[in-house]
Symmetry: C2
Subunit: 358 residues, 2 copies
């Protein structure tokens, strides 16, 4: 057994030995925010009960064997407030979110389903607009909406509309994407500026006394994942879309599940000034703010430059950069190297500064 294999096994074993205890007596908003509390809920309460060989709840899509092929299945509820925000709306977000979960699993989308939970009294015009948004986003992503469901709940429930999308895709048999595939020296690529979606929602809600406009980055990632697959080939180790919990959470999962460390270079991390401003008001790092059209990828060093160039050549990837790398040490931790030569640890997000962002 190589050192690397031993390290991954150790990481798995450590996770097994220390299943996080879920001891909160009641569910609170933090359990839906995508950070540490959400992980505890999933790993401490859901996984032990639902455990089965097919279950893959912390990665973006489950893989189900079907003959020689593997089918990818992923689901997501969208409960964003407000329903319409600068740069998008719940219908578009719901389609892109599920298409992206398939895309970062390396799967080609076959079809999606859309379930609508509608609040009694919702204007038909609003519903109609969101159905059109669903149809348009599906067309843009090249995925048919194959089936759906509608339920109506009483006035005061459901904030107008919740949209739940499930995606079905075919996994690429050539790819074996996983945190366990990461190796020291691998580069971490990010397809563009961070935190745009979360900041757009907060500003639209009026939670911040900030007049600036930020557009949500909601978009299908399929053109970006295709470009990466072509350019990085077997050098592509892992992809993820950093939504709830942001890049900080995804990289912590990567560090934990690979057994390696992750180094980040602060000056390489692209964040818009206005997003930085919003985050300062909130006292939160943009690394934890949700994105809905960004791709994070781990690529072997020899393929990283080609991959970066490929990303930059695709719409939505123009501002891609290499923001960090995988390192031997410190194992299972994410370390930010600041502009002043210092370092600070990036832990998983605790608490819930940003509810109902998606």
């Amino acid at each position: 057994m190589t050192d690397r294999e031993q390290r991954v096994l150790d990481a798995l074993e450590q996770n097994r030995r220390r299943p996080p205890r879920f001891d909160a007596p009641r569910i609170d908003m933090s359990h839906g925010a995508g950070g540490k509390a959400t992980h505890k809920l999933i790993e401490g309460l859901l996984l032990p009960v639902l455990e089965n060989p097919a279950l893959a709840p912390l990665s973006d899509a489950a893989l189900l064997p079907f003959g020689e092929a593997k089918l990818a299945l992923t689901t997501d509820s969208f409960v964003v407030r407000p329903l319409v925000f600068p740069g998008g709306s719940i219908g578009e977000l719901a389609v892109n979110g599920t298409v992206n979960d398939l895309a970062v699993s390396g799967a080609t989308p076959l079809g999606i389903s859309a379930a609508l939970i509608i609040e009694e009294g919702l204007d038909t015009e609003i519903l109609s607009r969101e159905v059109r948004a669903i149809a348009k986003a599906a067309e843009t992503a090249g995925v048919p909406v194959a089936t759906g469901d509608t339920k109506v709940v009483e006035r005061g429930k459901a904030d107008g509309l919740y949209v739940i999308t499930t995606g079905l895709g075919i996994a690429d048999p050539e790819l074996n994407l996983s945190p366990a595939a990461a190796r020291p020296g691998d580069k971490i690529l990010c397809s563009g500026t961070l935190g745009d979606h979360g900041a757009a929602i907060l500003i639209a809600r009026g939670d911040l006394e900030l007049e600036a406009e930020v557009l949500s980055d909601t978009r299908p990632l399929t053109p970006l994942t295709r470009a990466l697959k072509r350019s990085a080939g077997p050098g592509l180790r892992f992809m993820r879309d950093p939504t709830r919990g942001g890049v900080g959470t995804v990289l912590n999962e990567l560090a934990r599940d690979s057994g390696y460390g992750v180094a980040l270079w602060e000056e390489k991390i692209p964040v818009r000034d206005v997003v930085n401003g919003a985050c300062e008001i909130l006292g939160i790092d943009p690394l934890y703010v949700a994105n809905e059209g960004k791709l994070l990828a781990v690529v072997s060093p020899e393929h990283a430059d080609a991959a970066l160039e490929a990303l930059r050549g695709v719409e939505g990837g123009e501002e891609a950069s290499i923001i960090g790398e995988v390192r031997e040490e410190p194992a299972r931790m994410v370390l930010m190297h600041t502009g002043f030569g210092g370092t600070r640890m990036i832990d998983m997000l605790v608490g819930d500064p940003l509810p109902r962002i998606c």
Copy 2:
């Protein structure tokens, strides 16, 4: 072209020429009840926007071609109140409901996803119980829960818990189930007593001043659909689980989409006394009350007796009966033959006497 083909084409053409207009300015509870208003919402607002070759929103599962095979995809939101009711709970209902939508499409379930929308403040014990109910129902149905999602919404929203399940299955290549496959003389089989689920919910809610206990009939239909496939073979034309909107709605869809008429024999329709009593108080026909563990099937006359016997030999099918048949006339209508030699038309359910039943 045979008479039968012409008739099916006429029915399709008529539906196309008269797309129901959706002119309600706002959504109300009736749009979620599964009857006429729900059909108008789906056919008047959703279908024209989402139309694509894969879309099959009024049948129970969409079929997506995949190589030589066809994949079945179906989704359903469960917003039942209360979360626990005599005979079941929302977690069990959500798994069985989606497994059944696959089963009546003739598909073998491969896996399901479960998305949870949780209300802030929900007792962890309640959540934990429903996750166990999901796991147990999935195990009973022999389907893995492959992936999931959790979201939390503020106190006052979501009534504790909504569960959205999506099912993926493989369609049986031998079967071609559809209302258009029905022919005059075909028998209509029903696997047991009608209205148990709806009545159980209403009584549990205290909506009726009725002390009697009725158990929900929630159960996986896979053993029943398997028995039918084996016993009726090519004589099996169409299957459906009469949930929201009940048997009345399913048979109206059958009449409309086949172009033929449906005759029902009132004395053959199995309804428990207590369910009849509850329906009398409500002034609603048990034919419109939701079932969550009943199978309705159209079977050719020469296979009907074997199919009935097969159903009766399976748990959950002991009280199966032949409740009616397909007839040439009156085209596109459902006619009930009463015990007194009279007849009455069974139209689609108008309005919403039974909200939040599933």
